[in-house]
Amino acid sequence: MKKSVLASLAIGAGLLAGASSPSPVMAQAMEQFMPIPIYRTGPYAAGGTGYFGGFMDYMAMVNARDNGVNGVKMIWEECETAYDNARGVECYERLKGKGPTGAAMFHPLSTGITYSTFEKGTADKVPVVSMGYGRGDAMVGSVFPYTFPLVTTYWSQNTAKIKFIGMKEGGMDKLKGKKLVNVYHDSAYGKETIDILNKQAAMYGFEIKHFPVAHPGLDQKAIWLQIKQFAPDWVILRGWGVMNPTAIKEAARIGFPREKMLGVWWSGSEEDMRPAGTAAKGFYAAGFHPAGKNFPVLKDIEKFVQSKGKGNIEAERMGTIYYNRGVVTGIISLEAIRTAQEKFGKKPLTGEQVQWGLEHLNLTAARIKALGGEGLVQPIKTSCNDHEGGGAVKFQQWDGEKWTVVSDWIDADKSLVRPLAEESAAKYAKEKGITPRDCSKEM
């Protein structure tokens, strides 16, 4: 009965023949490979196609306009994960060795896949970049050398949200005695911010109540009736997928003002608002980048890629939140490669070399302007021990048609986030038997 393995090997042989046949992208040498673990099917397809569409468009634009990064062309290959952990791991393993030097980095675009790949990335020396998702404590670079929750983590943006609420209330001291509700997706992603919210509640003296919404969150009447009973001043929404429009509609049904609702960035895309129709008007969402097409970099993509019919996504989705997030990812990822090239030479780099670039990223305001991303990307400076870099978010409001930016960059409360992250990272290191590297020795 163990014959089956033979049978599966036979099937496998056919597969191997398919997988390893030289694809055109592997032929030349001056190429840098980027894995694209996309999800085009399943409940979250809108996010997967938008994000990686923007990312691929940006890389195509850099190839067309500048002939790649310092002459090294970007190449990439898609792998469908269907937002499934196991498929994501397979994609990671399949793509990590492609191209002349292997994968530059890996963007899982799923908290679950981040969890399942970051240890493999550390072992294989492939940086796993989870921009705006993944585990918050991974910002501690000494424990997580190859994991980069760049730009901002859930924990950081959460402190920014409280700051924003404070601003709206007219000062942080006004938060005292206020009632807040945290409606979250009942998963690893949703639970990330509970601890930090509790800490902040104690700090500022507001009352916080957490309401988990069971996946997928098609019907939330019971929860919103309870919220109505509680009568909060603000509601923080940590939703994902179909849970978002449903939550907004339920809020409308109990007559809770949407101007008092605040979403994380996974609750803040056009796809989340549109199904809610007019009910979504006035809803705020945090974002580490704004929507819109009015940036030089998007105009270049239009000129060099989309207008030539070479786009990786329908042209009308350009400028949406997910698309722009992909472009921001592209800008930061390629800048990291560029940084690494300064040290290791203008040639295709290995994951290990790119890790150095990610750790020595210094995206200044001037540099961002030169890249055409002014207002789209925030300044980022990383180091051996700080794998986050930025931490600021902007707030946007839905006017029924589109997002409008309503705040400037609001910085996270790092003095609060950092110790929490270090505590959590230390616990992880202990469980795993990891000795953190000494960052004072590395420059």
Binding site: M1, K2, K3, S4, V5, L6, A7, S8, L9, I11, G12, G14, L15, G18, A19, S21, V25, I38, R40, T41, M56, E77, E78, C79, E80, A82, D84, N85, A86, R87, V89, E90, E93, R94, G97, T111, G112, Y115, S116, E119, A123, R135, D186, S187, A188, Y189, K191, E192, I194, D195, A214, G311, N312, I313, E314, S424, Y428, E431, K432, G433
Partner: protein, 355 residues
């Protein structure tokens, strides 16, 4: 010609009861074991071992578990992933809370915990049958998922509710490369599969089948329904539990409860139906089919649809082909791949003189 049993006589009861009564089969099995233990680790690279063959073996084990329950004892279950989750979380908690225990003992105890949970959820099977039972096992699936998401103790109070497999040591060896993980998985799966094969040929297996075919008749001839059904649930869940522990330790590494969601249950159910209900071999064949097909389709899609707008269509086409092939196989051979294998063997026995 080569595959012929002429001249092999069963002269003792022992020979009559062998798992593989035909000499050629025995040789083939030994050759296969040699191949998978020695040749495969030497030939296959990390990608194949770590991300295709290992998960395939783990899911085969889960499929054997479900096959015991559904294929042999006739109780349709959709709670497989839930029982896998019990195994995974039990192994994790044993490992960090009782570090003195050897890893293999952790795995086995994880299976025992899963078996206990499985038996509790198996109790309704005494009254509920068919699809009613299938939907009732969904209660197990959702309830278990919920418990692991909500009770912090199980995840060692991790803020996000994920568990991360600690480094593995067996007899002082550290198991961390793809080859070592593969060999560990293979050993566990091989031993348990052999156990399952023997079990279904023994008294307990035969009483399962009697219950499957007609439970009232089985009761009439003196098979106790309670213990038979519960033992099927227990042993099935034991297999699923060990599979869950392996899934966490040897494959994913860090998991959240959502890694054991309903889709995983369905995936395992696919495997036994495509592979063959009531066949240990079928569990492996089905797992091979269900794991490899989407990857194969995706590879083909990547070759054709690279960097074009058609990629969307390709991704959906994969879905369509996958669904279509399932229907196709059911129509062509409702008894699964194992049946095809059996037919091939029958043909081979007579070849080249079928008349």
């Amino acid at each position: 010609m080569l595959y012929r049993e002429a001249g092999q006589f069963k002269t003792s009861y022992q020979k009559d009861q062998a798992i593989f009564p035909i000499r050629q089969d025995r040789i083939a099995v030994w050759a296969l074991l040699l191949a998978v233990f020695i040749a495969v680790p030497l030939l296959a690279d990390d990608y194949w071992l770590g991300s295709i063959i290992t998960p395939l073996l783990v899911l085969s084990l889960a499929a054997i578990g479900l096959n015991i329950l559904t294929g042999y004892a006739g109780q349709l279950s959709l709670g497989t992933a839930g029982f896998m989750a019990v195994g995974a979380f039990a192994a994790y908690n044993l490992n960090i809370r009782v570090p003195e225990l050897p890893l293999i003992v952790d795995f086995l105890l994880a299976g025992v915990f899963a078996a206990m949970v499985g038996m509790v959820f198996g109790l309704p099977s005494l009254r509920i049958k068919g699809f009613y039972l299938a939907v009732a096992t969904l209660a197990a699936q959702f309830f278990i998922e919920w418990v692991f998401t909500h009770v912090g103790w199980f995840t060692n109070y991790s803020s996000s509710g994920v568990i991360s497999a600690p480094p593995m040591h067996i007899l002082g060896m550290t198991i961390d490369t793809a080859v070592e993980k593969y060999l560990l998985t293979l050993s566990v799966v091989a031993v348990l599969a052999l156990g399952a094969k023997n079990m279904v040929r023994s008294r307990i297996g035969r009483s399962w089948m009697a219950v499957r075919d007609k439970d009232i008749s089985a009761e009439v001839i003196g098979i106790p329904l309670l213990s038979t059904k519960l033992s099927a649930f227990g042993i099935s869940s034991f297999y699923c539990g060990v599979a869950g522990a392996l899934w966490t330790y040897c494959y994913l590494g860090t998991v959240e409860p959502a890694a054991f969601d309903l889709n995983r249950s369905f995936q395992v159910l696919f495997m036994i139906i495509i592979g063959g209900v009531g066949s240990i071999l079928g569990s492996f064949l089905g797992a091979g089919f269900i794991v490899l097909l989407p990857i194969l389709l995706n590879n083909i899609a990547a070759m054709i649809g690279h960097g074009t707008l058609q990629a969307d269509t390709m991704a959906n086409l994969e879905h369509i082909i996958f669904g279509g092939l399932i229907i196709f196989f059911l129509i062509v051979e409702p008894h699964g791949l194992a049946r095809l294998w059996q037919i091939a063997k029958e043909k081979l026995r007579l070849w080249p003189f079928p008349y």
